[in-house]
Amino acid sequence: MVKHTLTVLVENKPGVAARVTGLFTRRGFNIDSINAAITDKPDISRLTIVITSEREGGERQLEQITKQLNKLIDVIKISDITAYDSIERELVLVKVDAKPERRTEILQIVEVFRAKIVDIASESMIIEVTGDEDKISAMLTMLADFGIREVARTGKVAMIRGAKTL
């Protein structure tokens, strides 16, 4: 099982995401996360797609899919940045059970992970955490003990380090 992070620049037009994701399903790839948002140029959107290939020959499949993606008229550029040294971030909102007597414990975890408490209620709180995959999963494991009520994740965004751009 190999994870890949693809960044795709596309025309900011209706239906483009469907064209892109449709290709993955057709070739037996599961999309772990997909993030889509406009860039500094209003007519260009950027997708960050994380996929794992479970099948044998996954690398070759991925090469094929990258080529197929490139053929889509609305796809401007696609890069597999897995092998690059890059910054990867995801933002997660977690609603956890937070009875008054356990709040200090939660606060400590929040501090260690440099997360933030963004909402507080009598029985629960919402924590916002940003980070790479390892940090997010560590944080979620810690919070699981308190009882997670709901999780909302943005999916990963990524950027290659240094001056190089897509």
Binding site: V10, E63, Q64, K67, Q68, N70, K71, I73, D74, I76
Partner: protein, 580 residues
């Protein structure tokens, strides 16, 4: 100008002379403008026929074929035709009506999400939201359909957009298309061409394997020039038939599942494959792991995604076939190459294993094709799908590109008749013959009305075995002769059926009646249907089983030899199976 007027203006600007279509509620505004348009509209009898006719027209003329259907069921009826064009990379623009923008998503009457349905079978598609987009959408659609690896483009036009008035900027109809996400590579990489030339120089047993891409890029002259210059044999795929003259001394005919023995042996024994405009489809590379097992491979294709998809080439060249072949020719000019030993081996295979059939036991389909070839050597042959298609591919002597029109990738029964109509409209001066099977013919026989009413005198020649013959052949060979639901023996009378549509119908049961019937069909300026009652259980040979290496060839007992022997002094593993 209204949206509908803009569509017609756009089509005229693109040089469209004819469209194939079928009206309905959601395209009423468009049809209202068509009523007085210079563009010829051919009313088909089922929208699938419109798509296939546009496809046949495009294959024969090399231009973009256009079809029109209404929303909902009209649009879904186009789907098979669009998929067919997609699989064979044929430039088609399909225009569908759509419910008004204000109703989209409401499950309105005759609403389907046709851009969604056709997403995986179109090169690109548009759902037009405002009339002012129409001029550039039409322009882009034609550009995308007809450049790079060609293919179908769908334009979905909501009814309110068709009636919307807008201030038109006339220049938009002719403005150059600029798409930053779409820049097909035409010119081959110089270094790769150099490497390819070096491989050719180093080879002793090269084979050129040419496909539909050669025809799409009008590269037949270059293919021939290269082949003759270096003296290398040429085999074509089904889609590539016509790209190289079949009776040329360097021609190996078709390769693959029903290819000639000598073409398949040549692939197995070659030390270099020059693959041009092909995709190593499973009907050719029946077993990719043994395909061209002794050869290095040069793969030339305009679509980078085809390169390395099935087989990893030693020298990949992305580019247009015409352009790359020209560059290769220039590079190899004056180079002394001599493959005469190899050609001798091939010649001996050709002598030893010619295409042949047993002329005993009634009317043979192969004989009929040979007669058609004799009496109409310059005809454009269109086929249905099944055994009829393979016999037409194997036994007619194709001399130029765009003379065999056949559904390759999708294998669509019912393609032939409407495609023949499109072909005849595109080339009215040519004889157009649809070689049909009885099963396929019935899938789209209503288009006889289209042909008759529009005076499009095509000739339908049904090789009537009263079977879904190709499926029956597989049942005979691989399912112990259990003919599950492939027997079409019935009281259906094709002669009367032809006459009911106003066409001329004939039935031929005896060998001596074959030539006179064909002659008569060619003489009369009418739509003709001939019902040839052929030997029911004739099979298509040679045959390579799906998944088997190309030199494991099945042939019936009347076939050639029982063992492949010492084919060319080289070690051979494949054994010729004899099936009776």
């Amino acid at each position: 100008m209204t949206g509908a007027e803009a569509v017609l203006k756009g089509l005229e600007t693109e040089g469209v002379e004819v469209v194939f279509g079928y009206p309905g509620g959601a395209v009423l505004p468009l049809y209202d403008v068509l009523y007085t348009s210079k563009i010829r509209h051919i009313l088909v009898r089922h929208e699938q026929g419109a798509a296939h006719a546009a496809d046949g027209y495009a294959r024969v003329t090399g231009r973009v074929g256009v079809c029109i259907a209404t929303s909902g069921p009209g649009a879904t009826n186009l789907v098979t035709g669009i998929a067919n064009a997609y699989m064979d990379s044929i430039p088609v623009v399909a225009i569908t009506g759509q419910v008004p923008t204000t109703s989209i998503g409401n499950d309105a009457f005759q609403e389907v999400n046709i851009t969604g349905i056709t997403l995986p079978i179109t090169k690109h598609s548009y759902l037009v939201k405002r009339a002012e987009e129409i001029p550039h959408v039409i322009r882009e659609a034609f550009y995308i359909a007809s450049t790079g690896r060609k293919g179908p483009v769908l334009i979905d036009l909501p009814k309110d957009v068709q009636v919307e008035e807008f201030e038109v900027d006339e220049r938009a109809f002719t403005r150059a298309v600029r798409l930053r996400g779409y820049k097909p590579t035409i010119k081959g990489h110089a270094l790769q061409i150099k490497k390819a030339a070096a491989l050719i120089q180093a080879s002793k047993r090269p084979v050129i394997y040419a496909g539909g891409g050669v025809i799409a890029s009008d590269a037949s002259p270059e293919l021939r020039e290269l082949a003759e210059m270096i003296g290398a044999p040429v085999t074509t795929t089904l889609m590539g038939i016509g790209a190289f003259p079949k009776d040329h001394f360097l021609s190996l005919g078709m390769l693959g599942m029903h290819g000639t023995r000598y073409a398949n042996y040549a692939i197995c024994e070659a030390d270099l494959i020059i693959a041009v405009g092909v995709r190593f489809d499973d009907r050719v590379a029946t077993d990719p792991s043994t395909f061209a097992r002794n050869a290095k491979i040069i793969h030339i294709d305009i679509d980078p995604a085809e390169i390395g998809k099935i087989i990893r080439p030693d020298v990949p060249i992305v580019g247009d076939a015409k352009n790359v072949l020209r560059a290769l020719i220039e590079r190899l000019k004056g180079v002394d190459l001599d493959f005469s030993d190899w050609l001798e081996v091939i010649e001996s295979w050709k002598e030893r294993y010619p295409l042949r059939y047993n002329p005993k036991d009634g009317l043979k389909p192969q004989f009929i094709i040979e007669k058609i070839n004799e009496l109409a050597p310059d005809a454009i042959i269109v086929t249905e799908v099944g055994q009829n298609q393979m016999w037409a591919a194997l036994y007619f002597n194709y001399k130029e590109p765009r003379t065999l029109i056949t559904s390759g990738g999708l294998g669509t029964m019912g393609f032939g008749l409407p495609a023949a109509i499109g072909a005849k409209v595109g080339a009215p001066e040519r004889t157009v013959i649809d070689i049909a099977g009885d099963g396929s013919f019935l899938m789209k026989c209503q288009e006889l009305a289209t042909a008759v009413e529009n005076h499009i005198p095509i000739k339908v020649m049904i090789l009537n075995n009263q079977y879904l013959g190709m499926v029956r052949q597989w049942q005979e060979l691989f399912y112990e002769g259990r003919y599950s639901h492939t027997d079409l023996a019935s009281r259906t009378d094709f002669v009367k059926l032809a006459e009911a549509f106003g066409a001329c119908g004939m039935r031929v049961e005896r060998i001596e009646d074959v030539a006179p019937a064909i002659r008569k069909a060619l003489e009369i300026d009418e739509v003709v249907v001939i019902d040839f009652r052929i030997d029911r259980e004739e099979n298509v040979y040679p045959m390579v089983k799906a998944g088997s290496p190309l030199d494991e060839i099945i042939e019936d007992e009347e076939g050639v030899v029982e063992d492949s022997g010492d084919l060319c002094g080289m070690e051979k593993e494949g054994v010729v199976e004899v099936v009776d």
